[in-house]
Symmetry: C2
Subunit: 403 residues, 2 copies
Amino acid sequence: MTVYQATASAPVNIACIKYWGKRDTALILPTNSSLSVTLSQDHLRSTTSSRADASFEQGDRLWLNGKEEEIKAGGRTATCLAALRKWRKEVEDRDSSEPKLSEWPLRIASYNNFPTAAGLASSASGLAALVASVSQLYALPQSASELSLIARQGSGSACRSLFGGFVAWRMGERDDGSDSLAEQVATREHWPNMHALICVVSDAKKGTSSTSGMQLTVKTSTLLEHRIKHVVPQRMEEIERAIAAKDFDSFARITMKDSNSFHAVCLDTEPPIFYLNDVSRAIIAVIEELNRASIANGNGYIAAYTFDAGPNAVIYALEETMPVVVNAINEFFPQNQTFPDPFKMLNKDVTRPQGFNGAVVREGGWEKGAVSRLIHTTVGDGPRRLGDEESLLNEAGVPKTLA
Amino acid sequence: MTVYQATASAPVNIACIKYWGKRDTALILPTNSSLSVTLSQDHLRSTTSSRADASFEQGDRLWLNGKEEEIKAGGRTATCLAALRKWRKEVEDRDSSEPKLSEWPLRIASYNNFPTAAGLASSASGLAALVASVSQLYALPQSASELSLIARQGSGSACRSLFGGFVAWRMGERDDGSDSLAEQVATREHWPNMHALICVVSDAKKGTSSTSGMQLTVKTSTLLEHRIKHVVPQRMEEIERAIAAKDFDSFARITMKDSNSFHAVCLDTEPPIFYLNDVSRAIIAVIEELNRASIANGNGYIAAYTFDAGPNAVIYALEETMPVVVNAINEFFPQNQTFPDPFKMLNKDVTRPQGFNGAVVREGGWEKGAVSRLIHTTVGDGPRRLGDEESLLNEAGVPKTLA
């Protein structure tokens, strides 16, 4: 008896041009296009196994990190599965020898190799892994961009995790969302020395969720519309040109400007939304000062910070300049967890740009754990197809961790 | 022998609609109109004595808080004095019996009754007191609005400290700045129960000065122009209507929105400017939650926060609701200095609005001194003419504190 199953992993992506605001909350159609860098699955990934079997009872079931989650009728997961089934049905209709997988219940197990506490957007990689896994199970002929239409409806920015490298989510124009999809702007091989350092910043208070926060901004900010209509379109063009030309200076400048613009419209929301805290501000100050001193010396930008809907910093730098960043951040923000330093950059013989003013950092330094951990990774590839030996499900269609 | 001298005091003003950006840095012409509340001189004031004497040598001399300051040729103080002399000359030309004060050297001493460390804009009250004092010495016939043209060139927002109550600074249109002046929107008697609580917030780092910060925003922010052209003009109309109608709900809402809008364009600056820190954010959270709970109970806004170019909060509330604010801030932010509580609101029998969620405040509360002191005051009057017995200068034209 053939077992119909597939296991896929999908990457985390971190936006340089931020998605903030929906024009359609049901279809998840954004108010502006966005652009992200896909991070390597060697360090951060969601893995999802899916299995279809006519003998499964109780309909579809889903486990996230070993915990069963209800698949609510009309909910986002259900919407994605229905869309994937529709395309599977087309396969079956074209070739009657294909098994009727679209009619069988599914068992899906998903696992993130990074703690939720890390504050990284796990919904993007998780939804992307789900769509990748089920589309493989269903042997769908659709392209990654077409699949991104489905991932987008599960979790907006998930659509960007269906590609490696540098990825744009085109906002589209149509009311049905059929042109609101992701596409690759450049492969990781185009700019393989793009590195990313994630600084996990502790925050006592849970911030506003991005889902509710962005719609509050849409409703109340007097600056958002200007950002959407006049600022982001130009920035999208500029950063795509910067990526094509591997122009790190422009890439860094635009990335930082857009992060700040996004947090500015959050602040302009009623009531205001704050994601950056004093530690986030201190990380910004260090990166700005590294860049200032480097530029004053006639050199280029050293790094670019960007912040999503939380206090964690993601710092982009090229492999050549990342050692300066790693050592500065590690010194100024002693962590709770030992930094695994996968690229052996710690205590490397690096010199900060001449004229770097250490006074930008709080006197006496930050207390241990203000940054709880560092994750160093690089630009990475898109969803991977994994072998059955890596399946998260056992023969009964239950997560192995539970069996 | 007649002694020609005058002593005046002038108030601090705190803007509800913020001034941020100059279209002419020499004349200090703003990119948008602004509106402020004048605070009572019973608590916060600058006092300035000026004296003209033909026998003074070495030209004009100025002391600020007992320390002599150079009056730089072409500098802002020199510009103000030259303009005042020009108007005095007109008085003398019209009436030849008038002594030729405009030709005599000046001795000026100014003193703030609040520490610079309080982080309150002392330049506004200081320049206003200087203009008020010299214009009294010179017996100028000009109106306060006309004098505001001169104060504006000394320190932009000083023009608003020439009136009591509620004051607008009209940005004007002319290139020579002759229509960029302050005018009173409402007297303090119109809305005398308007109170203000200043929370002096400690900040380890000195922020960007407002003079350099605002021009960096003008140069680099992609959101400022929209704020200037499309957001502020409407807000000015709305807040003036709110003040006319003594509509605190609208006053509070607009004040908070504009403070956040101002800090949003600061964040949108390259490199970003941060004035709010975690303590500022926590004060915002408390006020927002007090308002939320009160509104949920079918009542109105309790208070409004506003922040200038620093972490200090100024909280506006009517006398009736201020006790709730004073007691909440005092409890959540224990200070270094004992709060003098001039209006006897501490430990008054007040109840927070039902449903107030204390979880908005950091668990365990804030460490003592995160807010170093509280200053409670009210809306106040414009510059005061003081008697010679309050002069800061001795007979030799030297500050009494130095003699």
